[in-house]
């Protein structure tokens, strides 16, 4: 889920109307987009205001994905992206900005 938000899923809105409201234009990750191996790590942490120190699970686990990918891009090419999704176009634009030749909107 978070991989999709991080890399593909950009909602285009025109005057309040979503213009890519189908799976043809709003791409979600398919089987080729997901890495074959995903490493998970559990960190013990007590949530003081939860029952018995428990914390909700599920989507909390997604928070690390976008920063990890953003850090990887920064590490690889020195471009710091601060908006999602981090599409190929966003990376290219970042490279041009870094080169002091920002691209226009079109």
């Amino acid at each position: 889920m978070q991989l999709g938000f991080s890399m593909f899923e950009k909602m285009h809105v025109d005057g309040g109307q979503i213009t890519n409201a189908s799976l043809a234009d709003y791409k979600i990750p398919a089987i080729h987009d997901v890495p074959p191996v995903m490493e998970n790590m559990t960190v013990d942490a007590v949530q003081d205001n939860g029952p018995f120190g428990a914390k909700g699970v599920g989507e909390l686990a997604t928070f690390g994905v976008s920063p990890a990918i953003a850090n990887a891009i920064d590490d690889a090419i020195g471009v710091r992206l601060t908006e999602l999704p981090m599409t190929a176009e966003a990376v290219l634009r970042g490279l041009y900005v870094k080169d002091n030749r920002p691209l226009g909107d079109d």
Binding site: L23, A24, A30, I31, H32, V34, P35
Partner: protein
């Protein structure tokens, strides 16, 4: 008003059936309304997600796009036929053992695609599996587990067929 309904005859999950359908009805509508089969689900309605997959003459196709009248004379298999006696098909069993789903909405499509793949290739590699399943979407992102399930299903099917 003159009815535009057509009578079609086909084999549904091994049983000969005859049914009246409107020319604009798609396969999913017909299966749900006339046979109470809900395994093929309409999700995107555009043939992009694979949730509505059914096998027609052994070939997987999108039930949301295929018109029911085209089924005349064909052999149709839906996910409901895989466990007729309650004993799960090796593919279904493999999906459970590998945890190859979270919400399960896309699962009938993946299961039927896997059946079709294993008919063609009894021992598919990762790349063949990914290519074959690239038209099916799983919003929960269970893809790595699905690939494992297909490989397990291949082993189970082989073991089953050799005794």
């Amino acid at each position: 008003m003159r009815s535009s309904a057509r009578t079609i005859n086909f084999t549904l999950n091994g049983r000969s059936v005859s049914v009246n359908v409107q020319p604009h009805h798609n396969v999913v509508e017909m299966l749900q309304a006339q046979f109470a089969l809900f395994g093929a689900r309409e999700s995107c309605g555009q043939g992009l997600c694979g949730c509505c997959t059914v096998l027609v003459d052994g070939r997987p196709l999108s039930g949301c796009l295929y018109l029911a009248v085209f089924l005349d004379g064909t052999e149709v298999v839906t996910v409901e036929s895989l466990a007729p006696t309650g004993k799960l098909d090796p593919v279904q069993q493999a999906f459970i053992e590998c945890g190859a789903f979270q919400c399960g909405y896309c699962t009938p499509g993946f299961v039927l695609m896997t059946k079709a793949l294993l008919e063609q290739t009894s021992d598919p590699d990762d790349e063949q599996i990914r290519d074959h399943l690239s038209g099916n979407l799983c919003r929960c992102g269970a893809y790595p587990e699905i690939v494992n399930a297909v490989k397990l299903a291949a082993r189970k099917s082989k073991a089953g067929s050799t005794g």
